[in-house]
Symmetry: C2
Subunit: 295 residues, 2 copies
């Protein structure tokens, strides 16, 4: 029996230690920038993407310190996206992960710059020799993270998400939106161990498919929590999608069908891992946890 | 006698052709994002950083197409910084390069995302195999661009610049601010040819020093133009620094000393190129042009 919560906590600790090493302490005239980066980077959170990186790396016997660097890079990238998404011009959220969002704690300009600098730091982290001795591996990591986070990935998904408030969207459009917005970064996290460990193509693809289904299910549950959850418990405001008239899985499918769809996706995610042995049990467990979570 | 204007125009044409290849056409639900990226990327401009890349590459016999890819990456990065700097929370500029700034043409959220996606595209462009056959070279380019653009580079400089409105700054502080804000990206541009062509360390350092002095002189002239220039001619509003009570080279040194300081820096920049032959004449000429420019 695997203990997912203990494994998540241990992973979060390892990755936060690495993030702390990589993120300079605030000093000098630009100290405010690093304070803002650290405010958001160390605001807690499940560290689910880092967990996928670490567990993926484990399947291929990758050194834990190398994997933790990739995990830190992914979390820097994720943090930048949260900071920018929370801005008044975007989702206008005052709280994130149970504390004030970056632009509320500092100001908008600082938050924009903190996000920008975190993106650069993510790429810098991936490309440092300490991350992998083979520069071809580091280059592949950079390429895949750039694609997952850019216009055909996370940024493109967020653009679609903003347009969702004023556009009629069917389930196909919402699915593509979420694959871009969340799925690609999940997928990068899950395949990064195969890249680091030079795993076989079919293992890479299995992890990719696992993460795409996982990411979509994760987003459906996020929509469900927004539609039905308690903001104090979740750590950020809820009911915002409906308020904004935004098309989501829940608004199109209804809560019940959305929940059963999430369950189906998780079954598919777990099936995708069939070629892995029991070392992948935590990945399977994480998928089950995603549909069961309440925050 | 070298013809700088013709060389600049030819370089701009080459680099814009490459940017056009690398920046996808707007299509699909995220089309608005690519429209915004293209609006700002193809708004004209001197393309000075790409010019430094191309001329640097020329010193080491680097293939023009490879150099043009690096030049395009640098310009994507520069464009993202302009889009974000123009936002209402930052410099609040409605015009840029003679046309509407990104958030005025689209909206703030789209402009933030367009900048974010351009940053990712810059790194993706550098790391593609077509940029250099050796992944170690591509990794070095990514590392150096990440450093030049991140918290200890461009973003840090912009943070200091925002704080300059409310902080007493002496000439040392302003110099550091500008080295970070503009100098590091100039330096990356100028050394990128040495990285691509695996030039000797002393050539790398010579180009680095050239660009640092060049960048500082460039910024002083920018400050002078803001303090004394005609906004219609320059293509963006002027007098904004004084209005904001911001410390600049001009406010601290006065216009006359600032101009003579720019001249000194340019002499130093040209001296740094002494180890190069006449193939570097366009770099020398570009430095002279920078202090003479009126827009």
């Amino acid at each position: 029996m695997v203990d997912l919560q203990a494994a998540l906590a241990e992973c979060a600790e390892d990755v936060e230690r690495m993030m702390d090493l990589l993120l300079p302490q605030p000093e000098g005239a630009e100290a405010r920038l690093y304070s803002a980066m650290r405010h958001s980077a160390f605001a807690g959170g499940k560290r689910l993407r880092p967990f996928l990186v670490m567990q993926s790396a484990r399947q291929f016997g990758v050194d834990r310190r190398c994997a933790a660097r990739v995990a830190a890079a992914v979390e820097f990238m994720h943090t930048y996206s949260l900071i920018h998404d929370d801005l008044p011009a975007m989702d206008d959220a005052d709280m994130r992960r149970g504390r004030t969002s970056c632009h509320k704690e500092f100001d908008e300009a600082t938050a924009i710059l903190a996000g920008d600098a975190l993106q650069a730091l993510a790429f810098e982290t991936l490309v440092m020799p300490e991350t992998h001795s083979d520069p071809a591996v580091r280059a592949e990591l950079v390429r895949d993270l750039a694609r997952a986070s850019g216009g055909r990935g996370m940024c493109g998904g967020q653009m679609m998400d903003l347009l969702a408030e004023s556009t009629e969207m069917d389930i196909g459009a919402i699915t593509r939106l979420q694959r871009l917005k969340t799925g690609e970064m999940f997928a990068f996290s899950a395949v990064s161990g195969a890249i680091l460990g030079k795993g076989p193509y079919r293992a890479y693809m299995a992890l990719h498919n696992y993460a795409q289904e996982f990411g979509l299910a994760f987003q459906i549950v996020d929509d469900l929590l927004d539609a039905t959850g308690d903001s104090e418990w979740i750590g950020k405001p809820t009911g915002r999608d409906a308020e904004a008239g935004k098309a989501t899985f829940v608004s199109v499918l209804g809560a019940e069908r959305a929940r059963s769809q999430a369950g189906l996706l998780i079954d598919q995610a777990i099936t995708a891992l069939d070629l892995f042995d029991e070392k992948a049990d935590l990945l399977r467990e994480a998928a089950r946890y995603v549909v069961a979570r309440t925050k």
